[in-house]
Every structure is written in C-alpha cells, then in structure tokens.
C-alpha cells in the first residue's frame, strides 16, 4: 500500500540526487526535437560529461516538450540558459562551458526571457520540459500523485465532482461541455460497472497538443483518469491513442507499468476500496474515432462509426455501461485543480471559460510550437507576441482554429479574446487547440478545399449527407480553385453546406461545412474573384485558361 509519506520519501530522495549535481542540463526528447536527433545530442552530452570527469557534477536529463519546437533540438542549462538548434557536436562546447564555470555558449543561446516564454501561463504543461517523462519518481517529485492519494483519503466522489464544477473546467476536446457536470452525470448513472475513457485520438491537421502532453508528462493524464474514475465510480479505464503516436504509446505503457508497480494503479489503491486499472487501445487512424460514440465502438472491436445521441455515453457508453469520456488535456487539468482548489482554477480565464488552453501554434508564424495561455487572451497577443508574428515581411491574413470543424478568423477580428463563446460567435470553434496562422500567400478557397478534402476522406460513410455531400462540396471547391465554377456552383455549395450541416449524424459531418462557411463569410471577395474574374489573388490556384467545359 502506498501512502502520502511514501510519496514524500520518493520526492525527497529524488531531490537529494538532484541537489548533488551543480548543473542540470535538460534535453528535449519529445517527438519534434527527437526528429531532429535530440537523442544524439543527449548521448553526446552524456559522453562529454563522462570524459571530462564531471559525472557527479553535471546531470543530463531527457525531458518533455519545451514548447519552442521551431528551434529544436532544445537544451536548457539550469534555470535561465536556453540553447537552440543544438547539434550533437555542440555537446562538446556546452560541457566545456560548464567545466569552465558555467560560461554560456553565446552562439547557441536563445532568449529565454522572450514573450514566447513570459506571456504563457502553464498549468497543464507545468512539468513539460522539466521532468523526465520516463521516470515516475520525477513526476512524484513534482507533487505527482499527491492529488490522487489526498482525494482518496479526504474526499467523497461527490466532493470531487463539486470541486471540478466549482473550477468551471470545460471539456478541452472541442465542444466545451462542463466537465464537472459530465462527471456528476456519470456518477448519478446506474450500472453494474462504469468506465473511464481518455480520448487521445487527436486527428486535426496541424494539432499536436495531446501528443506532446502524452510524450512529456504521461503520469499527469493517468492521475487525472484515476481521480475521474474515483469520482464517477469506475474501476477500469481505456486510453484510446492513435497508433501514429508510437512514442506517446511507449511512454504511456511504461508509465502505467510504473504506476502499477508503486500501487498507484491496481486494486485497493492507498488501502481504500477503490481499484483502478488502465489499458491502452490503439486507434487505426480514422479521424471519426475521435467522436465519442465512434471511439467507443472502436474499443468494443466494432467498426468505428458514430451512433445517434442520446443516449449519451454518460448513460450508455462502453459495452452499454455508463462511461466517462474526456480528452487528454481535460484529464491533465484535474490534478492541479484538486491540488490547488477549484476556486484557484476559476480565477484564471474569463467568466465562462476558465483556466488555460494549450494550443499548437503552426503555419506562417515565427515561433511555431506548443503554447499554453490563459483563456481570454486576445488572438493578437498569441500570434504577434508569443508567436512572434508573421515572418518574411508578409502580412497576416487569417488564423484557422478548431481543425476541419473550425473556421478562419480574419485580421479585423484579431483583438477578439480566445474563449469558447467568442470563437463560436466568429464562426469558428475552440476545437482541441490547433491554431494555423496564414499570411497573404494563402488562398482562402484553397484552404477550404484542403479541409473539405480531409472531411471527404475521413467521413465514415454511415450517413448520406456527410458521405456524399462532402464529395460534392469538395468537387465544387476544386472547380472554384481551377476557375471553372459558375455562380450557380457557388449557390449549390451553399445549399450543400446547409444540408450537410443540419442533417448529418455526428459532429464530423455537422461541422464539415464550417471552413467553407467561415471563409465565405470573411473572404467572399476571394470566392467571387475566382468565380467571376477567374483569378487567384494569392496565385496559389492554377486557373486553367480558355477552358470551356462541354457536356
């Protein structure tokens, strides 16, 4: 049986080994930096440390994502020094610099006081870039699993649901459903068994929040799930991860084993009647499996297709039992809420959107990477201050949020606060947190075409409007982009948008027209230019000259 004292002991031991070293060198070993050979950087650093006889003095550690993915591989030394674009050869200089009394290597140094870092508020990502994702002891040293044990000791399931409700946390998967309400619904549902599912089937183009989080701090998600299971009365959980994230799967599986070994998962956790085990299930790469009912069908071994709701999974979910299903980021918020209290969380963010949100900043922006900001931060601050603005002297055109279900927000709306309501009002949505910045080299009908092609290929084929409607919409967008469309086509496109939006079975189909509708709303002139003048302002589309379509 593991107790709070055991956790304190593990943390103290960890602290002790840490303080033995004079210098702490952290190397990012999340997917983005790994793809730039940060594992070799780490090896080279370790080798240099050994060769220079600094074994006890310099501690080299692999850590999770530090956020600034565009400048990887990233290495930090101590608290203040950040090295960018580090190669394995640079390891020699870095260690030499340390041996000569912590002299920073100026040619590699990045600005760790840049707005990219200072403007962020980290709740979910607090451990990312600080702890070794492959060691549970490191997580425990960062107050890990304390929330779980304290909850088991002092709180009833109803208390937990109340605390989450008080925090105002809303689902981070996109819809923004109040998490506390969902939890208490599942708690109230009756069933011989209950399940907890973590939705890690992140499939939006350009989104990598869940991936980075799972690769950087897997224990936080597991702890959130365990607390959720206690709150709703479940004893088994599934982590549904897409198979395209092998590193996340590897670290999750390792983390589950470690937690089981310490008795943080398993039967009678902390000597209470509460038992909880977690299994990992791999998604076979269907976007629609991010939809909760399709995801459940997939775990059950069936074809990943959605079914009509109600009944909602809270009432009738996995194998017909009440099921709590939340996104990775939602679960990652749970431990800090219980550690610091719901009121603390509710003090962050806006009136209706509490806390912070992680975004994957991508596209035509200087600082691409993973960021976390308080809800309600104006878009402009995110893109211009944190993101560093649009590079190469180009001008900002739009930012796409919410993936294929979201929309494009134009420059005049940049001062809008980022929260669930404002984004929905602007014709987009929060989504899971993908944020793709576009400059004047992007053509909006072409962007709409890209997302429609995505929806067309990812439609499961169960309901008619989504299966066939997306094909027709994509064809019309192709016609527009090649200068073959007429005004009648544009009218038909609008009709199809209406039908697909209002008659599709699940969220995938219902939101698939959003990229078209939002670009038509803010960039109508680009469409008319393509249709009437047969010209593409951004010179992206290849307009076929003199082509008359016969028959």
């Amino acid at each position: 049986m593991i107790t709070l004292e055991d956790l304190t002991e593990i943390a103290a031991k960890e602290q002790e080994t840490r303080s033995a070293a004079d210098h702490h060198v952290h190397v990012c070993v999340a997917a983005s930096c790994l793809s730039l050979k940060s594992d070799l950087v780490k090896e080279s650093l370790e080798k240099e440390v050994k060769q220079n006889g600094l074994a006890g003095k310099v501690a080299v550690k692999g850590v999770g994502c530090m956020g600034l993915c565009m400048a990887g591989p990233l290495v930090t030394v101590g608290d203040g020094v950040l090295y960018q674009n580090v190669t394995p050869e640079d390891g020699i200089d870095i260690v030499k610099g340390l041996a000569e009394g912590a002299r920073p290597i100026s040619r590699l140094e990045g600005d760790s006081k840049a707005p990219f870092f200072t403007k962020q508020v980290k709740v979910v990502l607090e451990n990312c870039g600080k702890i070794d994702p492959e060691r549970v002891e490191d997580y425990i040293a960062a107050d890990g699993y304390r929330a779980l044990l304290e909850t088991l000791e002092n709180k009833t399931p109803v208390d937990v649901c109340h605390e989450i409700q008080k925090s105002g946390l809303r689902g981070r998967g996109g819809g923004g459903y109040p998490t506390g309400l969902k939890w208490s619904t599942v708690l109230k549902s009756t069933g011989a068994r209950k399940y907890v599912i973590c939705n890690a089937d992140e499939g939006d183009p350009g989104a990598f929040m869940d991936r980075s989080l799972l690769e950087s701090d897997p224990h936080r998600v597991i702890e959130g799930m365990a607390i959720g299971a206690y709150a709703v009365g479940a004893s088994h959980g599934y982590l549904y991860v897409r198979a395209e994230y092998p590193l996340a799967v590897k670290r999750l599986k390792a983390a589950i084993k470690q937690a089981e070994r310490l008795g943080l998962l398993g039967t009678n956790i902390h000597g209470t009647p509460f038992s909880f085990t977690v299994d990992v299930r791999l998604g076979a790469g269907a976007f629609v499996c991010g939809e909760e009912t399709a995801l459940i069908a997939s775990i059950e071994g069936g074809r990943g297709t959605p079914r009509p709701r109600p009944p909602y999974p809270a009432e009738e979910g996995l194998w017909g039992y009440p099921t709590l299903i939340n996104n990775v980021e939602t679960f990652a918020n749970i431990a800090p809420i219980l550690r610091n209290g719901g009121a603390w969380f509710a003090s962050l963010g806006t009136a209706k959107s509490k806390g912070t949100k992680v975004f994957a900043l991508a596209g035509r922006v200087r600082n691409t990477g993973l960021i976390e900001v308080p809800m309600g931060m104006p878009l402009r601050e995110i893109i211009e201050d944190i993101g560093g603005g649009v590079p190469d002297g180009r001008t900002f055109k739009a930012v796409q949020t919410g993936g294929p279900s979201g929309g494009c927000i134009p420059a005049p709306l940049l001062d809008m606060p980022v929260d669930y309501e404002s984004l929905a009002q602007a014709g987009s949505m929060m989504g899971s947190g993908g944020m793709i910045v576009m400059d004047d080299s992007s053509c909006m009908p072409d962007v709409a075409k890209f997302f429609m092609e995505f929806c067309r290929t990812e439609s499961c084929g169960k309901c008619t409007p989504c299966r066939v409607g997306t094909v027709h919409m994509h064809q019309i967008l192709q016609k527009i982009c090649s200068g073959r469309a007429t005004e009648a086509d544009l009218a038909l496109l609008l009709d199809l948008c209406d039908v697909v939006k209002n008659t599709s079975l699940c969220g995938l189909g219902q939101t698939s027209p959003n990229p078209v509708l939002s670009t038509l709303r803010y960039f109508k002139d680009e469409y008319t230019r393509h249709v009437i003048d047969k010209k593409c302002g951004a010179s992206v589309c290849k307009i076929r000259k003199d082509e008359e379509v016969h028959g």
Binding site: T457, P465, R467, V468, H472, L496, V499, T503
Partner: protein
C-alpha cells in the same frame, strides 16, 4: 406501482398522441397514420439513423432529428413535414442518386424499388448535383444471388438482417466515406463465403436492385419482407 415503461404524451403534426417511453417518434407516427419517409429503416431490424430521410423537426432542438432513432419525450412537439424538411429530404435523395449508377430502365427492381418510389414521391425528375459515375463491380459468384454495387445505397439492411435475424453475420462494411461498400466475409467473393447460409433474407430486405435473385430480368425482381416481423415475433416468443 408502475413496473413497465412509462407513458408519454406528445404531439406529432399538432395531433396529440400517447406513447411508451421506449418507443421512437417513427413508430408512434406510423401507429397514428402519419407518414414519414424512410429508407435504411426496416421494421424488425435495429434502426441506425443512417439515410437521414426520416428527419423531423422537434420544437426546441435546432437541428432536425432522425425519427427512427429518437425516443419520445413528454410534451415533445414534432413536425414531420415542412418546406425545410422537404428540401433536405430531396437533397438526400439526390445525393443517393448521384453517388452510384442507378439506372432504373435496366434494373431488375424497376417498379419495386424503395429508392425509386421515394424519387417519384418527391417528384425528382433531375439532379442538381453532378453524377459521380463510380466504377463498381458486380459479384455474381453466388449460385443463386447477385450483388451489384452500382445499385447499393449503403443502408446496411443486409448487414443487419444477416447479423440480427439469420445470425450468420456474413455481410459487413469495408472502406470509408464514398469508398465504403458492403462485403461478404473478409472481402471474399460471395460464392466462396464460408458463413453464408444462402437464406436470401439479405436479398429481400435490400431496398434496391443491389441484391437480387439470379434469373430475374428487368422489372422481374419483387421483394417480399413478410418473414421479418414474423421471425421477430417468433424469436421474442421464444425468449420470453
């Protein structure tokens, strides 16, 4: 003390009706002589809400809901017919016609086809969306039956009847989006299927000419589905 399902009252097209709480809008509408067009639905099979023809409007809900899978609720106000619903249903039919190669004049089921009947009901004389003309195969490997993918509307009635009534689960779906199609066993020719019992239920529940009996020419295939409610009843009797 009430032991069974509770009774709810609601209105369908302003007509007050009573229903058990586990019944769907479609069942109650039909009971009360109110017609809602359907295609993937077939009495006796589990409804899936796939074709979206049975969409009805419920006061207080922005999007129309599928009548075949929506349970009744106390005080619900349902509208089964409106210009908006007609427009949506028409478009859904158009999408179905454009998706594959439906040529009634050469079809075995001409004159006995659910899709054709609905097209006539909605006065569908032409399509506003372009035909896709996909290339689809015909599987005539079974000794008694033929599968013509060109006429399939992916309603999955065959899949459900084979699984739920015959208990063989020979049929399933393969691929996704518009590439989805029905398959037998693990995508093997129907004739070589190890699980098919040759009962022919799939053929008779099929709404179009996609599944037909061999030896039938144009207009000659007639489907009879009387067995379905009968088998359902018999099975329920045995389970009680």
């Amino acid at each position: 003390m009430i032991t069974g399902p509770r009774i709810k009252t609601l209105t369908i097209d302003d007509k007050p009706v009573g229903a058990r709480e586990d019944e769907t809008i479609l069942t109650i509408a039909r009971e009360n002589g109110i017609r809602i067009p359907t295609l993937c639905h077939l009495e006796g099979l589990t409804p899936i809400g796939g074709c979206r023809l049975c969409l009805v409007e419920v006061k207080g809900i922005a999007r129309p809901v599928a009548a075949c899978v929506t349970s009744v609720q106390e005080g619900m106000e349902v509208t089964t017919d409106s210009p908006r619903l007609t427009q949506y249903r028409r478009m859904v039919l158009e999408l179905l016609f454009s998706e594959r190669n439906h040529v009634c004049s050469v079809c075995v089921s001409n004159g006995g086809c659910d899709l054709q009947d609905l097209a006539q009901e909605f006065g569908l004389t032409h399509l506003t969306v372009p035909y896709q003309y996909p290339r689809h195969k015909v599987d005539a490997s079974h000794p008694w039956f033929t599968l013509d993918h060109n006429r399939c509307i992916l309603c999955t009635r065959c899949v459900r009847v084979c699984d739920e009534i015959e208990g063989a689960h020979t049929w399933d779906l393969f691929g996704r989006g518009m590439q989805a199609r029905v398959i037998t066993d693990l995508n093997q020719p129907w004739g070589s299927s190890q699980t098919c019992t040759g009962c022919g239920k799939c053929v008779h529940v099929c709404p179009t000419g996609a599944l037909s009996e061999k030896g039938k020419s144009v207009r000659e295939m007639r489907k009879s589905r009387e067995f379905l409610p009968y088998l359902r009843l018999m099975r329920q009797g045995r389970q009680v």
